[in-house]
């Protein structure tokens, strides 16, 4: 009897299909489909074709086989991929520790002029790649740059080299410029995370005798770990999409000797062509698809494996 009544109640409570949800979702879904999903699907489709006698022909995964194994393409592809990984490693190793350190310094309660530092360090992030690229190119120029003069002031002129023109240093130099530009992001995010740690927690720690550096390592760092995770994944996506900085500093041929070639510049040359090289939309789409898959798998790895293992604390 009771059960029947309960069932009847449920029946009465069941609402009609809520059409308005669909209607509200529709504009965003349409726009997103048009500008994101459709081009993405089209790119994936394009990579399975090849132009023969002015008409596209389905070739399955042959373009990918060329990209991985035919030395005409694979040399460039693996070189760009390795450079990209190196670019990412430099970004992670330099940007995050410095970002955390800066955030930790900023969150010292006694610090004067905090908002000035915060703004000054964050400012380059807002600048256009073109300004950053050309600015640094000028600073580092062996002819008119201030870098040799400044090094001379402190007696370190012998350390100066035309870094952007040397195969051994060019990629590291460009990666460090990228770090300089984006250092503000990890700083500001971690700073926000540090500020959200309640004061009582620190007081309790102090009562237990955990102070100074120990306090940072044992209490603050575990608490901001999820933020560092987010920053890492943002850096990963940004780095594997990177193109602008290399293009403005080193040109589309990513010299010297392709030592600064990233997947982005390889894609640009392949898709749009360069000087006498005519653009090849199909091989270009193949490179683009690989970039998509690399970024997708990196993000998936983070979401499903790493993020689940990070312990979150309720604060």
């Amino acid at each position: 009897m009771e059960r029947h009544e309960a069932g009847g109640k449920q029946e009465a409570l069941r609402k009609p299909f809520r059409w308005h949800i669909l209607v509200f979702l529709l504009p965003a879904a349409t726009v997103y489909t048009l500008v994101m999903i459709y081009p993405l699907a089209e790119t994936l489709r394009l990579s399975l074709f090849r132009e023969v006698d002015n008409s596209p022909i389905f070739v399955g995964l042959a373009n990918f086989a060329d990209l991985f194994f035919d030395s005409r393409w694979s040399d460039q592809f693996w070189n760009a991929l390795w450079n990209n990984i190196y670019f990412f490693i430099v970004n992670m190793l330099v940007q995050n520790p410095i970002g955390i350190a800066l955030a930790a310094l900023l969150s010292i309660p006694r610090l004067r002029g905090r908002s000035f530092y915060r703004t000054a360090i964050f400012l380059p992030t807002l600048l256009s790649f073109v300004i950053v690229g050309f600015g640094w190119k000028l600073i580092l120029s062996p002819l008119w740059g201030v870098a040799p003069t400044l090094l001379d002031f402190v007696g370190l002129k012998f350390l100066f080299a035309p870094w952007l023109g040397k195969e051994a240093y060019a990629l590291t130099t460009v990666a460090l410029v990228s770090v300089w530009q984006f250092i503000g992001l990890p700083m500001i995010l971690i700073y926000a995370a540090l500020l959200s740690i309640p004061e009582e927690l620190m007081e309790a720690a102090e009562c237990d005798g955990v102070t100074g550096f120990a306090q940072f390592w044992k209490i603050k760092l575990p608490l901001i770990l999820p933020t560092i995770g987010i920053i890492s994944i943002l850096t990963f996506v940004g780095n594997f999409n990177a193109f602008d900085l290399i293009y403005t500093m080193q040109g589309a041929l990513a010299g010297p000797n392709f030592s600064t070639d990233l997947l982005g510049t390889l894609l640009y040359r392949t898709f749009f062509g360069h000087q006498l090289q005519l653009g090849d939309p199909h091989m270009g789409a193949t490179v683009a698809t690989m970039m998509f898959l690399i970024i997708l798998s990196g993000v998936a790895l983070y979401l499903f494996v790493i993020q689940r293992r990070i312990t979150r604390y309720q604060m």
């Binding site: 081009p39 120029s141 002819l143 010297p256 090289q277 005519l278």
Partner: protein
């Protein structure tokens, strides 16, 4: 991924905008005078708009009543994409400015450009001049050549006087002069950098190279597969380039193209490996006397060869409505009058027809006299050989920069180029 979609989007919009503008222009022109035929010229040379409107077009229209010309350029970077869109939509102008080699060849093969074999005046052009806009078998030419650029060395006459050296003619004299300038110490002997890479290939390898591979003879033999890039004639220029390193400025590895130009025009360097397109800029920037000398030959008395590279031409829209008028204009482009106006308005861009043209600019005149003294050729990588993957032109940039920096030996660099070319080019296999 994002980048790609976004770029395509821009290109598309640019195309549409350009088309819309083109149509608007055409409409207004037609309504202005209904009886006249109006020919629209598609071009990427928006820098030349003033010269076309004030000099070239009035000169033509004065002689050909009934034909009006509208010069409608697009931004250089957007030209190819915008032109393709217009041609496909059938809204392109009657006359089309042609990029050299494969970009235009593709348009001809797709039926967008008409043959100009029967245009009066085509007999004024040499096969080298026509090579940039002919089918591979040279049977059909589809654009009327307009101008070329010549390679050589521009030097600071005051600096040479000060140091006490003469313009060199042989390779030994060339290096002796550079040595002397270096010893004297007040000038950087030569202004070039490898940061942008193309300078090393274009102003280095393609500049001095023709003397070693004997111009057209070597270039055509390479295309036919009878010579290889690893042959002595093709490696020797690299051996010479490898010696340039000692005469370039400090940190030349990171010196870019504008850096090199400034270094020379500021009077800090004595020699500038050049293309003639620098002339008008240098005339304005430099406050010392400029001279030019030929790429030095191996031994005195050798035949000299120059890179007289075809750069710009004018073709006819195959689906255009005013074919007869377009032909009239094209044959005027092939005439001595056009050559004279064009060459004097844009010193450094030399007419390709065999007319005897009087140039007012002394430096440009110096360059153009070389045509009579030396054999002309074009850059070796441009015709046919840069069609495949890996791209020979791109690789030549990289190889030339590596050789000058000393990070690659001339022999290794040549072998890399040859391997790359042989991997797709049948006659070289």
């Amino acid at each position: 991924m994002d980048k790609k979609t976004c770029k395509v989007g821009t290109r598309f919009t640019a195309g549409i905008t350009a088309t819309a503008f083109g149509a608007a222009f055409a409409l207004s022109a037609v309504s202005a005078s209904a009886e006249d035929v109006t020919l629209t010229i598609e071009s990427w040379r928006n820098d030349d708009l003033e010269i076309w409107n004030s000099k070239i077009i009035p000169a033509f229209e004065a002689q050909n009543p009934g034909i009006k010309i509208l010069f409608a350029p697009t931004a250089p970077a957007e030209y190819n994409a915008a032109l393709n869109t217009k041609l496909q939509a059938g809204t392109a102008g009657d006359l089309i400015t042609c990029r050299p080699f494969d970009a235009s060849l593709q348009l001809f093969e797709k039926g967008h450009l008409a043959s100009v074999n029967d245009v009066a005046g085509m007999e004024n052009f040499s096969p080298v001049a026509k090579s940039g806009w002919s089918t591979d078998d040279a049977a059909t030419t589809f654009c009327v050549p307009m101008a070329s650029v010549i390679h050589g060395f521009i030097y600071n006459k005051d600096a040479f006087k000060e140091v006490g050296v003469e313009a060199p003619t042989t390779e030994a004299e060339f290096f002796a002069a550079l040595d002397k300038i270096k010893e004297e110490g007040s000038y950087i002997p030569m202004s070039m950098g490898t940061a942008d890479q193309w300078e090393a290939a274009t102003m280095g390898y393609q500049n001095i190279g023709p003397n070693y591979w004997k111009g057209e003879e070597g270039r055509l033999a390479l295309i036919a597969g009878k010579q290889k890039l690893t042959d002595d004639a093709w490696v020797e220029p690299y051996r010479v380039l490898a010696k340039w390193k000692d005469y370039l400025g400090d940190g030349f590895e990171a010196q870019s193209y504008p850096d090199s130009q400034n270094l020379f025009t500021l009077g800090r360097a004595a020699v500038y490996p050049a293309g003639s397109w620098e002339i008008s800029g240098f005339n304005v920037q430099a406050d010392f006397e400029l001279g030019a000398f030929l790429p030095p030959v191996k031994t005195a008395g050798d035949t000299c060869y120059i890179s007289d590279h075809v750069d710009i031409a004018l073709g006819m829209n195959a689906k255009g409505k005013n074919t007869e008028a377009a032909k009239t204009f094209l044959s005027w482009v092939a005439s001595a009058e056009f050559a004279e106006i064009y060459a004097n308005s844009l010193p450094g861009f030399f007419p390709l027809a065999s007319h005897d043209v009087k140039l007012e600019d002394p430096l440009a005149q110096e360059f153009v006299t070389w045509r009579a003294k030396c054999e002309s050729t074009i850059r070796s990588t441009y015709q046919i050989l840069s069609r495949g993957t890996p791209n020979l032109e791109n690789n030549t940039w990289v190889a030339s920069a590596n050789v000058i920096k000393g990070s690659d030996s001339p022999e290794d660099a040549a072998k890399d180029l040859q391997d790359g070319l042989a991997s797709w080019y049948k006659p070289q296999q």
